[in-house]
Amino acid sequence: MTDPTALTLAEARAALGDKSLSSVELTRAYLAAIDKAKGLNAYVAVTAERALQMAEVSDARRAKGEAGPLEGLPLGIKDLYATEGVHTQACSHILDKFAPAYESTVTSHLWRDGAVMLGKLNMDEFAMGSSNETSYYGPVASPWLPPNWTPERAKAALAGDKKGLLTPGGSSGGSASAVAARLCLAATASDTGGSIRQPAAFTGTVGVKPTYGRCSRWGMVAFASSLDQAGPIARDVRDAAILLRSMAGYDAKDSTCYDAPVPDYETAIGRSVKGLTIGIPREYRIDGMAGEIEALWRQGADWLKAAGAKVVDVSLPHTRHALPAYYIVAPAEASSNLARYDGVRYGLREDGDDIIGLYEKTRAKGFGPEVRRRLMIGTYVLSAGYYDAYYVRAQKIRTLIKRDFETVFAGGVDAILTPATPTAAFGIGEKGSADPVEMYLNDVFTVTVNMAGLPGLVAPAGQSPDGLPLGLQLIGRPFDEETLFALGAAIEQAAPKLKTPAPWWA
């Protein structure tokens, strides 16, 4: 058999189903690939023994005729999901040696459905970042070669500080890189301002941020509670649909989790998009936008038209305020959510003369510069005298942003098509060192979706002139992920297939 890691999740599911492949074989193949890809730094913890054990148990279950929806399928898990007994640090130094005595709800669904855990995936520290460069464990390299680089040059760069190699995006950089480099069938990720969708766009993979409340947040290291949402990164739209179905679902332990049955998203793949109305929001056409991005956006609209959808211009007037408002709301919530990292009950402890000393030293040592920046901004915008001017105002603008979408949907639009990112992937070390805001601008197309709590899907749609992946984003009505999967599949059908990068890192 050809390399089993070449199979998509759906294909592997079929191969396991007809017993032409066993989970143990498949898992072994992935562990071998992961071992050869250490240089990419996509994984921060590989659970090889556990993976093989899980695979064996799965094969035994299958032999008895019991097989769950993800039976025997090896997956990668973003480091912010609590995985019982296994490294869970949200890639931060402050959670040093933390191995939870509990399992997150989302991952518990995966094991319930028979999946196999390959390991924990790298990410920006506490999910704060758009390039995976803030991780305590160092940056992740995208499997895509930088333009005009030879594989040898790239491989050599892996050994050093990885400067110049492409970032896979962030914060779910490890997840995106691992999926694109075939180091897992698919991965769980999370999205607060674009952390699933932007990396998917950068790596030519499919990423879905479901409606806020679709998945449980219990057991996910919290960044910004009103924005965080779990979601899949996968090789194609079908794989993403399969994985989301297992991840999603009501959880009474999360007061913000929505109680409604989870549809079988896979059935939306191939569903006709005839008669759907697609909105093109004029405010997403930003000044200085790269020509290829605009062209791809129009191309995407044309594809959907060809598939029978109606395309209309719409207006989302408060779009440009979403990013600044996000950079008030998210840090504010984070400043409170991260107060528990204080050296007392778990994680890093730096001794101090008194309790304040303990707190201050532990948190100074434990948090990286980006996290520290955001905690300070967050603390500031909630502080006395600034709360109304910043936080309350940002939350009011959030209401306006959501209202914009509601108006458009009420007008008969089924989904909105936008670019996913302002550019293709950039190089490690290229952005953000002088001005933190430069990095934030990566999320300009994605944050609106978190601010409004809507579902968003990114599918690869084309390439930049340098041959790097470019994606398109679809934004849907609340809890209408099915329409997004149908439309995403249509785009995927129409778009030229990207060739997956040959493993120059191995």
Binding site: H318, H321, V344, R345
Partner: protein, 95 residues
């Protein structure tokens, strides 16, 4: 709006993050860069608009008054850097 160095020290103290004197100026610049970025929001008309309380239409769910948890002292203390006799230990706090 921008912050001065005294404000930076105050914020750092509120956030319980030690900041070296040498870092203050740089941190001040970073924070001010972000504050400049968000400044444009002050011009938006938010008259009569309620701040967002919940992105999805849901009522706060309630649970019944049953003891379903606890008695897991070992798990609670498992990752603690310093414990004794079942207590977490911290440098002595003076009231």
């Amino acid at each position: 709006m921008s912050v001065d160095q005294a404000a930076v020290r105050r914020i750092a103290r509120l956030a319980r993050i030690a900041v070296d004197e040498q870092e203050i100026a740089h941190l001040q610049d970073e924070i001010n860069a972000i504050l400049s970025f968000v400044e444009e929001l002050s011009a938006v008309d938010v008259e009569g608009v309620e701040p967002m309380t919940s992105v999805i239409p849901m009522r706060l769910p309630m649970r019944e008054d049953v003891v379903t948890d606890g008695e897991i002292a070992a798990k609670v203390l498992a990752n603690a850097p310093l414990t004794e006799g079942g207590f977490f230990l911290v440098p002595k706090v003076v009231e």
